[in-house]
């Protein structure tokens, strides 16, 4: 017997139409439009705003110009900075910290677990401008909480936003995003039958041995999922702008902030679009890998 569908194809199409229109106009068309614009010298103002010229690969040549590629405030500098940012704040910071947090949560009292998770999740859910301002106050040289603690401990205070801006945004983003990895690993650990750990306890295994030999091999899939997702998000994150505006002197200008400056401060849409295309290509690579893994997992589950 043919499985009869609850909704006719025509009714189905009507149901899908509003979503399709919205996604089409504001997600799919922009994807192709940005590629077109990246081959022009479009600006926000002036003659080229209305009637831009086709300039071929000019914008890409400018971005990859070897003479300026690595200079501060140039594309290459931002790209390398962003790769380092992803490496330190997402792959090492968020993932590792999230793993530690989830593992710790397994074996502490419920009260402590609640306190820990609330603090971590608060950092994640509060609006980004509020978080940006909280950190601005926290790091203030004269009065900030951090330097107050430093002085209390007899250590010299530091103007970290000026002295170590890159490491500030790395720690900031680790702090901001660790909650996601923590929650993902929480649920991963909960999917492991408790009897595995009980058996290891009887054999006298240490916590580290249990993590390394039982938990990690079992949650390998979750780890890969986590790493890909946080890489994609961190690669595109704009929030550090709210703390440093990309400064001082471009030292925290991630690709997202670079795009913003080129397009909306220097008004060079063509070049901004070219940067956007490169970001999208990198995103595409990660997304394809992620969807491939997700598909495989789903097939295994069925």
């Amino acid at each position: 017997m043919k499985k009869f569908s609850l909704l006719s194809t025509r009714a189905g199409a009507v149901f899908v139409a509003p979503a399709a229109a919205l996604v089409g106009v504001f997600v799919i068309i922009p994807f192709f439009w940005v590629i077109v614009v990246s081959f022009t010298n479009k600006t926000l103002l002036g003659r080229t705003a209305i009637d831009p010229d086709f300039v071929g690969l000019q914008n890409y040549f400018t971005l990859f110009n070897p003479a300026t590629f690595f200079a501060r405030g140039q594309f290459g500098f931002s790209l390398i900075l962003t790769v380092q940012f992803v490496l330190f704040s997402a792959l090492i910071g968020q993932a590792l910290l999230g793993l530690i947090l989830a593992w710790l949560s397994q074996s502490v009292s419920p009260t402590l677990k609640n306190f820990l998770q609330t603090a971590v999740i608060a950092a994640w859910i509060l609006p980004e401008v509020v978080i940006g301002f909280a950190w601005f106050a926290f790091l203030d040289y004269d009065n900030g909480t951090l330097n107050m603690i430093m002085r209390g401990l007899g250590l010299p205070p530091a103007d970290l936003l000026l002295q170590q801006p890159f490491w500030v945004i790395v720690v900031f983003n680790t702090w901001r995003g660790a909650a996601f990895s923590m929650m993902l690993f929480n649920s991963a650990f909960q999917s492991i039958p408790p009897s595995y750990f009980q058996a290891a306890d009887v054999a006298g295994a240490s916590s580290w041995q249990k993590l390394r030999d039982i938990a990690l091999p079992l949650i390998r899939g979750h780890v890969v999922t986590d790493l890909i997702l946080i890489t994609m998000w961190t690669f595109n994150v704009f929030t550090p702008f709210l703390l440093t505006s990309g400064g001082p002197s471009y030292r925290t200008e991630l690709l997202s902030i670079y795009t913003y400056r080129v397009a909306f401060k220097d008004f060079e849409f063509g070049r901004g679009a070219a940067v956007g295309v490169i970001i999208m290509l990198i995103n595409l690579a990660f997304a394809l890998v992620y969807l491939q893994i997700a598909k495989k997992k789903k097939a295994e589950a069925e």
Partner: protein, 276 residues
């Protein structure tokens, strides 16, 4: 006993480490607990003496600040209605009808939505909104968010609807209901928890976001709170701390309330594109 003692030791060490990490995580936010209630708040941490609500009174009297909160509400509600409505309809159709290429549609949507992110899309989104002539309107922000959030919302809801037995609607239709009636009267009430999750998720996303309204809006009268908050700086560029602290707290309140609500109602988990 040897074993139980070492387990006890381990627990103790773990508890100390966990408390330390918790405190370090809370530190940057501790300031926010006190400063809004301190009439002389500065960037330093200080227990207010006395505790006062005067900062909040100042905020409530600031019509620009209050109007910005209203703008945030308009944009968030507008976006949420579009996302909730369109995602529910589309997810239902993808789950229950026999439109050809359903799998491909879902795949392409997810792919595009993760590739066309805020930082890559800010130029084309600005251009498309200018081309339609919507720059400097609430509608621009609402539509852009709706488009951006819809793929994930549809994905979450589709999973949710797939898990509901088709026999619910089938028995309604055997009893003479039309497919449309089966959707509105039978399926919709069952899907409601899923819609609530999607709506809360979309609301928090729009409410907290900065970049999209920042590039699409120029007029002060349309600014949502996330952008307007930057007007609480003196001419010299130093923040007016008392105002900022109180305003930040008010602005964060809906997010905190929604988090508590979801936590209480469903237990806080995450769904959808982020599902493992």
């Amino acid at each position: 006993m040897q074993i139980s003692r070492s387990i006890y030791m381990r627990r103790a060490v773990f508890s100390v480490v966990a408390s330390l990490i918790g405190v370090v995580f809370a530190l940057p936010l501790v300031w926010f607990i006190f400063a809004p209630f301190n009439a002389r708040a500065e960037l330093g941490l200080a227990i207010p003496s006395p505790f006062t609500l005067s900062n909040f009174v100042t905020v409530f009297q600031n019509s620009f600040a209050m109007h910005a909160l209203l703008n945030s509400l308009i944009q968030a509600f507008g976006g949420v209605i579009l996302v909730g409505g369109a995602a529910t309809l589309a997810a239902y159709a993808l789950s229950r009808s026999s439109i050809p290429g359903k799998g491909a549609v879902t795949y392409i949507l997810l792919l595009f939505s993760s590739v066309v992110s805020g930082s890559a899309a800010m130029v084309p989104i600005f251009l498309i909104i200018s081309a339609i002539g919507l720059i400097d309107t609430h509608l621009a922000v609402i539509l852009v968010f709706a488009g951006g959030l819809l793929p994930t919302a549809m994905f979450i809801l589709r999973d949710f609807i797939d898990a509901i037995p088709r026999s619910y609607e089938e028995s309604a239709m055997v009893a003479g209901a039309s497919p449309i009636q089966a959707f509105f009267d039978v399926a919709l009430p069952v899907i409601r928890p899923g819609i609530v999750v999607v709506v809360v998720w979309a609301f928090v996303n729009i409410w907290g976001s900065f970049l999209i309204p920042f590039i699409l809006l120029r007029k002060d009268t349309l600014m949502p709170a996330s952008v307007a908050i930057y007007s609480f700086y003196s001419e010299a560029g130093t923040p007016i701390v008392t105002l900022l602290a109180a305003y930040s707290l008010i602005y964060s309140l809906p997010v905190i309330v929604l988090y508590l609500f979801v936590n209480w109602k469903f237990g806080f988990r995450f769904f959808g594109g982020i599902k493992s």
